[in-house]
């Protein structure tokens, strides 16, 4: 953080003028602070992935520890993926370079680096594709836009495929739906074939494989954390909650990202869930084995994603639950919504999810059997099943950050807003072209939430922060809500940097604040132990 320049300076230095040299001529900037640290060999080992070296190495090194036949490996891998993914083939072939995507990328807006334009990011791969796999490329060579795969190209891939958060914003604007997330995924898979991976992704992945969650929390510690939250809840509300773990025969299995168990402010969201379930008297259980909703495999390869994801269905089957309820997380929901059933389904347990409280059948989750917590809560609110006192959130002026994945890979837009409008009185949306399906990434998604690239993260998060700043200044917004664990980790430093005075929260933390529990004591504090009444009186006067 110390090295990061002041916000004003960073903002002033954003330069969108194009360089004089062609982009192919410009080597990637792999100086310190511009790249994520490569993964530690032990993680590769643990996950049975190719390991280039047992030594520590740095992308800043001139020579990388890659096998001699690396070009062949990439070529074969590329060929394999072209056959496996029609998306890749089509996206390689049809781009007309209309430029619609260019200024849609938060990294381009923030950095002005032309290779952060989605079109050029894809062109990094496409140039090699043309050279190796097309007739025109073989005949016309450079004129067709092809180029051979050199070490510099490989370094470019490493640099720029780890400057993309797979947020899919460009894909929304592309007339052919070219999705840079797909391109980046393929690029990262290819890099993985050489063992070129970043630690901030592979360490959580290895943890998750072993302990069930990214943070490597072992079962007993997991339980202790939750019990600790229950103590806090008792202190704040006077209600004692005793959640169950790995309980067979529960109706519902609840899975949430482990960030909610281990990192503020996600923990307050966890407390919100617990309060909600207690309020309803829900027959649910938590699992220490499937204690992670998130899936860093998504940021590595589809195989790794499948390996990590398999635990959800397996655990649901083992416990014999009817269906799964999923907590607030972004990329977790991309995996659940678009991949899980295909990869690890069809499920061998349960039935089409049905809310035990309202009787609503979630037909849209008929096959995957997994419901998003805001879908569940919105339904409860619609049926007036919750006793609420929204004024307990009156010290907060709230806005909502649509996380990329639920927005553009799921279409979950109105449910969280419905919940927010029910549980708090001061809600303002950010400008329209920065929310919902047009939402901007937090700048740290897809495994880039790592300290060593802080400046890049601040620049990538600028469009999001700038929109928050707008409502902060206009409506006095001081609380940025979201439904994503990575957001809850990435947005606080982003806010501190660009918009000091805005806190970050999960939607269900606000639900927990507003819920009137049976037998509760008069609440004087919110779930963060912050006093409730300070600003409420002022508001009442107005």
């Amino acid at each position: 953080m110390a090295e990061t320049p002041k916000p004003e300076d960073l903002y002033q230095n954003i330069d969108h003028t194009m360089p004089d040299e062609a982009w192919e001529e410009i080597p990637p900037d792999l100086s310190k602070g511009k790249f994520c640290y490569p993964t530690k060999p032990k993680n590769l080992d643990y996950l049975d992935m190719p390991t280039p070296t047992k030594e520590e190495w740095s992308p800043a090194d001139e020579e990388w520890p890659i096998p001699d036949n690396w070009q062949e490996i990439i070529h074969e891998g590329f060929k394999d993926r072209l056959e496996k993914y029609r998306s890749l083939k089509i996206f390689m072939d049809v781009c007309v370079r209309c430029g619609a995507c260019a200024d849609k990328c938060h990294f381009f807006i923030g950095t002005g680096d032309p290779k952060n334009m989605p079109v050029l990011r894809a062109e990094l791969l496409r140039s090699v594709y043309r050279n190796d796999f097309t007739t025109a490329g073989r005949i016309l060579k450079k004129l067709s836009g092809g180029r051979p795969l050199t070490k510099q190209v490989l370094k470019e891939w490493f640099s720029y495929f780890y400057q993309c958060t797979e947020c899919r914003r460009c894909s929304l604007y592309c007339p052919y739906g070219i999705d840079t997330a797909e391109i980046t995924m393929m690029g990262r898979e290819l890099l993985s074939l050489l063992g070129l991976n970043i630690n901030w992704i592979l360490e959580p992945a290895a943890n998750c494989f072993r302990t069930g969650n990214h943070l490597g929390i072992q079962p007993h510690a997991f339980r202790e954390m939750i019990d600790f939250f229950c103590d806090d809840i008792e202190e704040i509300t006077g209600v004692r909650i005793e959640p169950t773990f790995n309980r067979k025969g529960a109706e519902i299995l609840f899975i949430t990202p482990s960030g909610d168990v281990f990192a503020d402010p996600g923990t307050y969201t966890m407390m919100g869930y617990l309060l909600l379930f207690e309020h309803l008297g829900l027959d649910y259980t938590l699992s220490t084995y499937a204690s992670e909703g998130g899936n860093f495999g998504l940021f590595t390869s589809s195989e790794m994603m499948k390996r990590l994801n398999s635990k959800m269905f397996a655990e649901a089957e083992r416990l014999g639950v009817k269906w799964i309820l999923g907590g607030e997380c972004g990329h977790m929901w991309r995996v659940i919504h678009q991949y899980m059933d295909t990869m690890n389904g069809p499920p061998n347990f349960g039935e089409t999810p049905k809310s035990p409280i309202t009787g609503t059948v979630f037909e849209n989750a008929a096959s995957t059997r997994m419901v998003h917590i805001t879908e569940f809560t919105a339904d409860l609110l619609r049926h007036n099943k919750l006793k609420l006192d929204p004024s307990r959130n009156d010290n907060k002026v709230v806005t909502f950050h649509d996380s990329c994945n639920p927005s553009r890979a799921m279409g979950l837009l109105d449910e969280p807003r419905y919940v927010l409008n029910s549980v708090c009185n001061n809600f303002y949306d950010m400008p329209e072209n920065t929310i919902r399906e047009q939402t901007f990434c937090c700048g740290s998604g897809s495994g880039l939430n790592t300290e060593e690239i802080m400046e890049l993260r601040m620049l990538g998060g600028l469009p999001r922060a700038n929109a928050v700043k707008y409502v902060h200044e206009k409506f006095g917004v001081n609380m940025l809500s979201c439904i994503c664990a990575i957001d809850r980790a990435a947005l606080p430093p982003l806010m501190d940097y660009w918009v000091p005075g805005v806190d970050v929260t999960g939607v269900h933390e606000l639900v927990g604040n507003a819920l009137v529990m049976d037998g509760e004591i008069e609440r004087t504090m919110d779930l963060r132990f912050e006093p409730l009444n300070e600003e409420t009186e002022e508001d009442a006067d107005e």
Binding site: Y85, G99, T135, R223, A314, D341, F362
Partner: protein, 333 residues
């Protein structure tokens, strides 16, 4: 300054000169009037089918639509049916909107840095407008040319000519589509040359078809208004092609026509090997042509293979003691 366009400009000019010289000086009428067009068509058909089948061969492992609006979830939440389709019917509508109205391009915006650290995203319609103008006028121009390839001329061609030539301008009557095509192509070209970002990302392969199409439009208009050709002879030639009885009409046709025909042939043959395949690809884009209903209907991945997982048994084996200690239930005591 990116001068990628120079390569393409020169290429197109040279191609034009080759055809002109080939016919006017070397008398290669048959080559440019019969052989090349047939060749181009064959290359197009084979190349196009090949490309599409090649795409078809690749699997669609996952359902990955980009959702542009509210999903279908609770009955009382209004689904955005056409940006986040749930049924095949809704997908069809989404595709129609995409292909016929360029829905996604319509969203286009431009980022701008305002005063006082304010970033604005202005809706801009120009790219969409130019693209619509260009594609639709091109389509009409192509359809209108059926008058050269069908005898009797089908009714819809006559109808189209009536509408297209509705305004009585010039003699022979000006077809608006021709002018719009030229205008649209020029605007797209100017955009590429003048906007720094566009110039930076553009390659010779982006300029080449544009110059080619501009060349086609200009030679077409020239044949109609400046160095006029005898349309009846042109039709004799084209009908010969269409009825597989090719021949060069008596009296010949001016070289300009062959330049036009050569440009068209090049364009047609060029399609399967270039970005112009977007005309087929847009139908197959997995982020657009799939329904957002994966949680309700399982999508099957044809190459789904078993992977190494960390089973609960392995997990419990590793942590059994700690679990017992923490009071967590275990399968094996």
């Amino acid at each position: 300054m990116n001068v990628a366009y120079l390569y393409s400009l020169i290429a197109v000019v040279v191609l034009g000169l080759i055809a002109y010289a080939g016919v006017e000086a070397a008398g290669l009428d048959v080559f440019f009037g019969v052989i090349i067009p047939y060749l181009a068509l064959i290359v197009f058909l084979i190349g196009f089918a090949n490309k599409i089948l090649d795409w078809t061969k690749s699997a669609v492992p996952f359902k990955i639509p980009t959702t542009g609006g509210q999903q279908k979830s609770l009955s009382w939440i209004r689904q955005n049916k056409f940006d986040s389709p749930y049924t095949t019917g809704q997908v069809v509508v989404r595709m129609i909107l995409e292909i016929l109205l360029f829905r996604s391009l319509f969203r286009n915006s431009r980022v701008g840095f305002g005063k006082g650290q304010h970033i604005a995203y202005k809706w801009v319609v120009w790219l969409w407008l130019f693209a619509i103008l260009f594609h639709y006028s091109f389509f009409v121009v192509v359809l209108r040319h059926l008058r050269f390839f069908a005898e009797p001329v089908p009714f819809f061609v006559n109808f189209l000519e009536k509408i297209d030539g509705m305004l009585q301008i010039l003699l022979p009557n000006l077809f608006l589509s021709g002018v719009l095509l030229l205008g649209g192509a020029l605007l797209l070209l100017l955009r590429r040359v003048l906007l720094p970002k566009m110039a930076y990302i553009s390659r010779p392969a982006d300029y080449f078809p544009l110059f080619l199409i501009i060349g086609i439009a200009v030679t077409g208009l020239m044949m109609r208004y400046l160095d006029k050709v005898d349309v009846v002879r042109v039709k004799e030639l084209t009908m010969g092609l269409a009825t597989l009885q090719p021949g060069i009409p008596e009296g010949g046709i001016s070289g300009l026509f062959y330049v036009h025909l050569f440009f068209v042939s090049i364009l047609v043959a060029y399609i399967p090997f270039s970005k112009l395949m977007h005309m087929g690809g847009v139908f197959l884009s997995p982020t657009r042509n799939q329904a957002n209903n994966t949680r309700a209907k399982r999508h099957v991945n044809p190459w789904n293979y078993p992977v190494k997982t960390h089973t609960y048994e392995e997990y419990e084996d590793e942590f059994r003691d700690k679990m017992k200690e923490a009071g967590l239930p275990v399968e094996k005591e």
